[in-house]
């Protein structure tokens, strides 16, 4: 029996070593494969994906960061052909830039049972200046068909050694074999943060390395002599190795804040450097270090300290107002109206003074200016570092984890959140982009703490309708709605620049067949008030008139039409962005000569763990039907374990809303 076990092991090891990942060593088996063994629906797959990043010492330039990449891709069908084209983006600084070299590519096809290779030639490589900061090298491989295997490798040499591009371990196509490593001499201390929902942990080892120097010394005397001597410095290299097999494709799901949060990967960030004969230089290690580092950098802390440029302006505004809260509002509104956001993100201002003068600036210009002005006015205001929704969640302390900054004003035990980049923002109502998990408040003293960014207050939409139904199933009535907080803000973003006429057309096309008149929108320009809409409407075909009976679902055109959750299963949390409550109050007058035969039951539907609920209360009083439908989602984010419950809940809401009222002719 034991012998048999050994044989099996032996066989396995043979099949393992049969894969050859050396460049150019593509096997017939790889070419013959018809569909991906990991995922039959894959259009293409990485058969092999390799990356190494390490430091090389060069006497002229010092340490240079080298990244080598080698990828082998199998194309299974025509939709996979797009993986035969690749773009590599490189960064350009003011004096230095990253460069690509050693780009080689091959395509392999099976021709009459034999592996045939076609090379990537110069004509297939294109270099392009994208803009001031980036270059792109694009290439497209020749002779690629269904079944082809393609392969390429290249190196990037970068002078920006404090910045290591994120390691990504998951893509929209599966990966059969992934190998990656990161090597750094002991002089560099990097912090690694792995992320994603595949738990990836590097294997850590060390190795001895050395740098050879050539020292040139000149002695000037009667004869000038130049002597060269070689010296060698030994060091220890820290190595992180990653080896993954059969990584599934990462597939997009709706209601996810950013897929970046779930993609497996690793980020490296420099904590400190310690070179021989020189002192420690800190970059980051802890949240406090991150914050200190940001705070101390001249472009953040110094900009925050400047007050001269606005003093006269602010003095004028707050003179005579001593209430701190009112002062806060005056200054907040002043910045909102004075300086417009230029759509650039970032935690570092470009120049607050200039932004003030030119009335336009990036996020940091605006919100640091705001913070500084509030401090000047005696408020306890501090910047809060934020990572926007599209930027992902900063789980670990890194400077690069943040790309946005807002302002927090501490009043007693509360922190009021302010973002002056949007004219629709109000205290504690932030633009949707900033609603992402937690921010980090940075206090004057240098201490810092997490601040929850998700709104606690529900955005409400309260709709009252008074409706008259006629014998043909036609309704006419009046509607009044009122929206608050983020719901109102979204409305303002979408419709404030749309003409009234156009808005009416949008409303009518949303509720197909409705005819709206006397539409009136109030307070759409005043973010401190809810948005109120009033209108009148008529709509045909809102009830079924059959013989002497009329059947209707009493929410009419406002009932939920379809379940937004269509996937059978879900991997990632559902992110609504903010909690909300929708209340519909109906007063329905039924046609003369009819009476209510039956109405649906009143009921309450609940999501588990108080995540949300829906109540449906209906009653009749003579010719009048009264209905209140009230639905709540109490939290911004719902974990995926509740997905089935959420899907079923929405389905039940639709069912309930579809239940029929029956009227009979008297």
């Amino acid at each position: 029996m034991k012998v048999k076990g050994a044989i099996i092991l032996f066989l396995i090891s043979i099949s393992l070593t049969a894969q050859n990942y050396k460049f150019g060593k593509v096997s017939k088996e790889e070419l013959e494969e018809q569909s991906c063994s990991l995922d039959a629906s894959a259009n293409a797959a990485y058969l092999y994906k390799y990356r190494t990043s390490f430091f090389e010492y060069n006497q002229n330039e010092g340490f240079v960061l080298i990244t080598k990449v080698h990828e082998r891709i199998k194309i299974y069908n025509k939709d996979g052909l797009r993986y035969a084209t690749k773009a590599i983006t490189t960064y350009k600084g003011s004096s230095d830039e990253e460069s690509i070299y050693g780009l080689k590519g091959n395509v392999y096809n099976l021709v009459n049972g034999k592996v045939e290779a076609t090379k990537l030639e110069k004509g297939g490589i294109f270099k392009e200046k994208v803009n001031k900061y980036y270059n792109q090298t694009k290439f497209t491989l020749p002779n690629v068909k269904e079944g082809s295997v393609l392969e390429y490798k290249y190196q990037i040499s970068s002078p920006f050694f404090t910045h290591i591009n994120e390691y990504q371990f998951q893509y929209s196509i599966p990966i059969k074999k992934l190998e990656a490593n990161f090597r750094a001499p002991e002089y560099f201390n990097f912090k690694v943060n792995t992320k994603g929902y595949l738990n990836v942990i590097p294997k850590k080892t060390t190795k001895n390395g050395s740098i050879a120097f050539v020292n040139k010394s000149r002695s000037t005397g009667s004869i000038t002599t130049t002597t060269y001597n070689n010296s060698k410095v030994d060091f220890i290299e820290n190595i992180h190795n990653y080896s993954l097999s059969n990584v599934p494709a990462l597939k997009r799901e709706p209601y996810v804040n950013s897929m970046r949060n779930y993609r497996a990967g690793a980020r490296y960030e420099l904590s400190f450097t310690k070179f021989p004969h020189s002192s420690l230089k800190y970059y980051t290690t802890t949240w406090d270090d991150v914050v200190k580092k940001i705070y101390k950098s001249s472009s953040f802390g110094e900009e925050l300290k400047k007050t001269g440029y606005f003093e006269t302006g602010i003095d004028k505004i707050i003179s005579g107002e001593n209430d701190p809260k009112k002062r806060m509002m005056l200054i907040f509104d002043y910045v909102k109206s004075k300086v417009q956001w230029n759509n650039y993100y970032g935690i570092y201002p470009s120049d607050v003074k200039k932004a003030y003068k030119n009335h336009t600036g990036n996020v940091a210009d605006i919100n640091l200016m705001l913070t500084s002005m509030l401090r000047y006015a005696g408020l306890d205001a501090n910047p809060i570092l934020v990572s926007t929704r599209s930027h992902g969640i900063p789980v670990f302390p890194t400077r690069e984890g943040y790309n946005y900054v807002i302002c927090g004003v501490e009043v007693l035990d509360n922190i009021v959140l302010l973002d002056a980049t949007s004219r629709h923002a109000t205290p504690n109502v932030l633009p949707f982009r900033a609603l992402n998990w937690k921010g980090r408040i940075v206090r004057k003293s240098g201490s810092s703490a997490f601040v929850d960014l998700y709104p606690k207050e529900k955005s409400t939409n309260t709709v009252s309708l008074s409706i008259e139904l006629d014998e043909q199933g036609r309704i006419n009535g009046a509607m009044r709605s009122s929206k608050t907080s983020n719901g109102a803000m979204n409305y303002r973003y979408s419709y404030n620049s749309v003409s009234k006429e156009e808005y009416l057309e949008k409303v009518e096309s949303k509720y197909k067949g409705i005819e709206v008149s006397n539409l009136e929108v109030l307070d759409n320009l005043n973010p401190y008030k809810p948005i109120t809409e009033n209108c009148e409407f008529v709509m045909d075909g809102q009830a079924d008139v059959i013989n002497d009976k009329i059947f209707l679902s009493p929410l009419f055109f406002l009932k939920e039409k379809e379940n937004p959750f269509k996937l059978e299963k879900r991997e990632f949390p559902i992110d609504f962005g903010y909690p909300y409550r929708d209340i519909y109050r109906y007063t329905i007058k039924i046609p003369e000569g009819y009476k209510v035969e039956s109405i649906p039951e009143s009921k309450i539907l609940k999501l588990p763990d108080n995540l949300g609920d829906f109540s449906y209360r209906i009653g009749v009083k003579g010719q009048i039907i009264q209905l209140i439908a009230d639905s709540k989602i109490n939290t911004s984010i719902i974990p995926p374990m509740y997905y089935d419950a959420v899907k079923a809940y929405f389905s039940s809401i639709i069912e309930t809303q579809n239940e029929q009222v029956v009227l009979t002719k008297q």
């Binding site: 994208v130 020749p142 417009q340 230029n342 336009t360 045909d540 059947f551 996937l567 579809n658």
Partner: protein, 636 residues
């Protein structure tokens, strides 16, 4: 003396403020031009000077007042350049609502980026554009540019109304040209808009003033077919260093064939032999052509690279043969060369691709089109081949290039021909379904749908969706059925017959609503039209249905055994110039089932705006009838 002097200069000053400030202040815009406007073109001056066959200068100066975010694009504050187009001047200035200058932008402050558009891998063309963040609305921008170019093949057109919600206060266009160059022009909709015109020796000038905005309305024809436009072309022109003389499409065709296309037919001997071998057992021309088309689809892929004259000249056939990729021109030429290798004639064809069926202008010869495809004449009929797709069936062009005038390039000239039109009858969807509803309201359905023509076009990509996305696609198709589960999906993309066959099984709990002893459900279970065109209180534009279609449904519905029919929807029959709708419901007492049949068709056509309300009413009625309910009642 002194006094007089002062008054005089003051007077001058005020005059100056008036004439200058006028244009830069948003306060001076006439009310009717502000109505619904995102932006107002205060003044637009385009000056084109053709100095020689290979020298043209284009100066532009625009003053635009912008009222909201969406209006910013009407500044068009960008210029393209490449090795033949040089920017001589570029600047802008921003004014506040009152006409005071608040910012000046120099050439160096414009962003400089590569002009690669989506879908293109590389292009040597670049663009400089103005990236300005407005601090308040309204504001006014003045934009000034000047370029020189050695290409005279593309003369800027006069096209003042560039988009919806833009009103025109003043827009002028001037072109001057030397005697030895003869200039042709074509005026479109200029009389309807009272465009002023001045013509003198070597000079032409157009001016449009006071035009209110066009509002966007659904189903309206493309704006450029209903607003004024003047096209220009020079008989003698130069394109990337190639000079030629062209008066009509025939000349154009000869030039294009001889200078741009002919030399690209250079297949290596080995490929010619291979292709002969490939088709040697095929008897008919069409079967040979089908084999070759398949060969191209298997071997190549679409990659767009635009360098220099590459924008017009196809890469050679040997290049595609070696690399296995190319853009529309290269792949079209490659297919043409392969057909030629076995003695089949086909013709390189220039066309405007896109859903809105833009024509090559029959009676105005100039550089036009944005795409290339292949025309294959067989027995007096033209078959159109789209060479950039690896998936479409032979001869299928779909909404990408259907029903429009295309330019067919032949060795001895060129001709304009209409591409295939997919008629209403061809754009069909035939549905056969078997449904059952249980006493609890549980719906089960098995159905087969066959789609052809443009309806094939709308669906064939589903075949390649992964399982999860197919599931969601079908849930969206029947989004009006709550609790829907797609139990079985079986797709047959029949490329030979160009029909898309979908066999599906669906189920849904609580499809019907149970109210006391009664059960209600919509009798049209599987193909409901919910679309109602938008309503316009005052429709201003004509409307157009580009492609007609017809749906035919036959569905058997097995009723729950404990129930009998109390009420059935009436049979419906609508017929008008927009289409027809007809339903029939038959109760089969014996097995307690319903036979539901439905036909819904919409005709293609262009109609005046006055008809819009009745067109909308037709759709609205169909949407209502498609929700008609059956009522069952429990057996006593």
């Amino acid at each position: 003396m002194k006094l007089r002097h002062i008054t005089f200069s003051l007077f001058l000053l005020t005059l100056n403020v008036f004439s200058q400030g006028n244009l830069y202040s948003a306060l001076t815009i006439p009310e009717h031009l502000k109505k619904n406007a995102y932006a107002v073109m205060r003044s637009s001056e385009t000056n084109v000077s053709i100095n020689s066959i290979n020298g043209m200068v284009v100066k532009e100066k625009r003053v635009v007042t912008i009222f909201n975010k969406k209006g910013s694009k009407y500044v068009n504050a960008y210029v393209h350049y490449d090795k033949n187009v040089k920017i001589k001047a570029l600047q802008a200035a921003v004014y506040n609502e009152f006409g005071q200058q608040i910012k000046k932008i120099k050439k160096g402050d414009f962003e400089d980026v590569s002009a690669v558009s989506g879908g293109t891998l590389y292009s040597d063309s670049r663009v400089k554009y103005l990236n300005y963040t407005p601090t308040t609305y309204p504001y006014t921008i003045e934009f000034v540019s000047e370029i020189t170019t050695s290409n005279t093949a593309f003369i800027p057109q006069f096209f003042p109304i560039r988009g919806y919600f833009l009103s025109i206060e003043n827009s002028t266009y001037k072109i001057s040209y030397p005697q030895h160059i003869s200039l042709r022009k074509k005026e479109i909709n200029t009389e309807e808009f009272n465009v002023e015109k001045e013509i003198s020796e070597g000079n032409i000038r157009y001016k449009l003033t006071n035009v209110e905005v066009f509002k966007k309305e659904s189903y309206s024809p493309p704006l450029q077919t209903i607003t004024p436009k003047v096209l220009f072309a020079s008989k003698q022109f130069s394109l990337e260093g190639v000079e030629t003389t062209v008066e009509n499409w025939n000349d154009f065709g000869k030039w294009m064939y001889n200078d741009l296309v002919k030399a690209a037919n250079d297949l290596p001997e080995s490929t010619i032999n291979a292709i002969k071998e490939l088709v040697k057992n095929e008897k008919s021309t069409i079967d040979k052509a089908k084999k070759i088309y398949q060969y191209v689809q298997d071997k190549t892929r679409y990659v767009s690279v635009q360098i220099g004259i590459g924008g017009w000249k196809p890469y050679s056939a040997s290049y595609v043969d070696k690399l296995g990729y190319g853009d529309c021109k290269a792949l079209t030429n490659y297919t043409m060369s392969l057909l030629d290798a076995v003695g089949i004639e086909s013709n390189y064809t220039v066309i405007f691709a896109g859903r809105n069926q833009r024509n090559m202008d029959k009676d105005f010869t100039s550089m036009q089109g944005n795409h290339a495809c292949l025309t294959l004449p067989i027995d007096g009929e033209n078959i159109w081949l789209e060479c950039t797709s690896q998936k479409v069936p032979f001869g299928f062009i779909g909404s990408f290039t259907d029903d429009r005038d295309a330019l067919i390039i032949k060795p001895d000239g060129a001709e304009i021909k209409r591409t295939k039109k997919y008629t209403k009858a061809e754009n069909s969807q035939v549905l056969k379904g078997y449904c059952s509803i249980s006493e609890e309201g549980y719906l089960k359905a098995d159905l087969k749908m066959i789609s052809m023509g443009i309806q094939y076009n709308d669906k064939y990509r589903i075949e390649d969706y992964e399982a999860r996305d197919k599931d969601v696609t079908y849930k969206k198709r029947w989004n009006y059925i709550n609790n829907l589960t797609i139990d079985k999906i079986d797709i047959n993309n029949n490329k030979a017959a160009i029909q898309f066959e979908e066999s599906l099984s669906l189920s849904a709990k609580k499809y019907s609503k149970n109210v006391g002893d009664r059960m209600l459900f919509e009798v049209n279970i599987l193909n409901r039209n919910a679309h109602v065109p938008n309503r316009y209180k005052n429709r201003t534009l004509p409307f157009e249905i580009k492609r007609g279609f017809i749906d035919k449904d036959n569905v058997e519905i097995e009723l729950p055994s404990g129930y009998v029919v109390e009420s059935l929807p009436k049979n419906a029959s609508l017929e008008n110039k927009y289409g027809h709708y007809k339903t029939e419901i038959v109760l089969n007492q014996k097995n307690n089932s319903l036979s539901y049949s439905r036909e819904f068709s919409v005709n293609d056509g262009l109609y005046p705006k006055e008809y819009y309300d009745s067109f909308r009413a037709f759709y609205k009625e169909v949407a209502r009838l498609d929700k008609a309910k059956v009522i069952l009642i429990k057996k006593q």
